[in-house]
Symmetry: D2
Subunit: 132 residues, 4 copies
């Protein structure tokens, strides 16, 4: 039921639709989301904008948190960019809960382009309630 | 000439167009960009997705860096979220270069909704060349 | 009373004594702490170790939080290093509360060597109670 | 030769001696360092100061970078604190190089107290030369 609910809310999220983020897999404490960088995601330099990567990482971690049954808001999120994303090469972000406390949840995530890890992130979530 | 060039490239950036980021002001070492959160920016909880805020902060800092005449790629970017953004309430992000070294540039940024500071960020950029 | 208490606890903190951190000034929502880098603070490269800078930043922010009457534990802390610290050149860190919520406090800090800002940091604190 | 050199410089580092950081293990792209929290590491609340954890994480990552043959300075370092360290319970930090580029090296680290992961960190290093 929880996982069905998460699948549905990801599919229906307007922001994910806008930038092309989709759910690929869910488990207890983790989530994988994907996006394919297209011309619409590029910046003035012709490179895929970091905003896509950061949104994908945040989404992967936020949904990982939600698989544990709680709703959290992001208090802070940090991303390290190892390599640029390439157009048409699908990105897969895996988010994992690292530590779940009473009010704070710590998560980390990696973004892969094929087998190459191109970015890593971590975030701190503040729990505001249970997933409905 | 540099500022004209930056204005044009921001206007023409596909990702900025996709998520609704616009240039508001530019100066030597700083840039202000705006976005209006709409229903398309919301997540499954009905809240404005953090990805919009992070993209706006990164864009403000990246353009602040470019006002100094160099092109940089984001090596890391961190965002702290103080308060949620509200639908229809315009956001303004001000990015500033804090320290420019030979190869690294450090920048910080704040996002304001009206007079309220709702998020702060910082980023480290690696210089890859001069703005054309 | 609160400020007296803070002054005393900073003076008596074993870790601050160990690495030479002292309180310089306190106000409502901010604190300034100092340290003088000595040979004992250097690393294998002969440079002042970043651990001194990070400890000083964390201490400045933690005490800034405590001036607001609450005790917080650091959930995350990030530091950007702009320039190396120099031996015998006194460091002053100013920490400020940026946003105080019900359970989370966001703070930022800068470290100055004379007039030069050599590092910046930010931290997220989780409130665990009131200052006694 | 490189590993001998690193062992020696860690042992001789004044800051590590001051706060009690020791080298436990080294490999290609990783390093493990230890510290035992004692009363001298506590803060005004009687808790082990985060500065010890941050210094240990930075040291583990910095030495992980040096096992690859290069000297780097820390451009940014971030730490997430999951649980407090306990007095007399030995801490072990494992630092790993995640991505080594031409001028930037990205590293991550975890701190364990026994089997419990109590903190995680990441850092960006700027390469300034080769290890002598």
């Amino acid at each position: 039921m929880l996982f069905n609910h998460l699948c549905q809310t990801v599919e229906e999220s307007p922001f994910y639709q806008l930038i092309g983020i989709r759910l690929a897999a869910l488990g207890n404490g983790w989530a994988e989301l994907t996006a394919v960088p297209l011309e619409k995601h590029t910046n003035a330099l012709g490179l895929v904008h970091g905003g896509l990567i950061m949104s994908l990482l945040d989404a992967a971690m936020g949904n990982a948190v939600r698989t544990t049954g709680v709703k959290g808001v992001t208090a802070q999120c940090q991303t390290s960019f190892f390599s640029p994303a390439r157009l048409e090469t699908s990105l897969r972000a895996r988010g994992e809960v690292v530590k779940k406390g009473g009010r704070l949840v710590f998560a980390q995530a990696s973004v892969f382009a094929g087998n190459e890890e191109i970015a890593q992130g971590n975030a701190t979530f503040f729990i505001i309630g249970n997933v409905d």
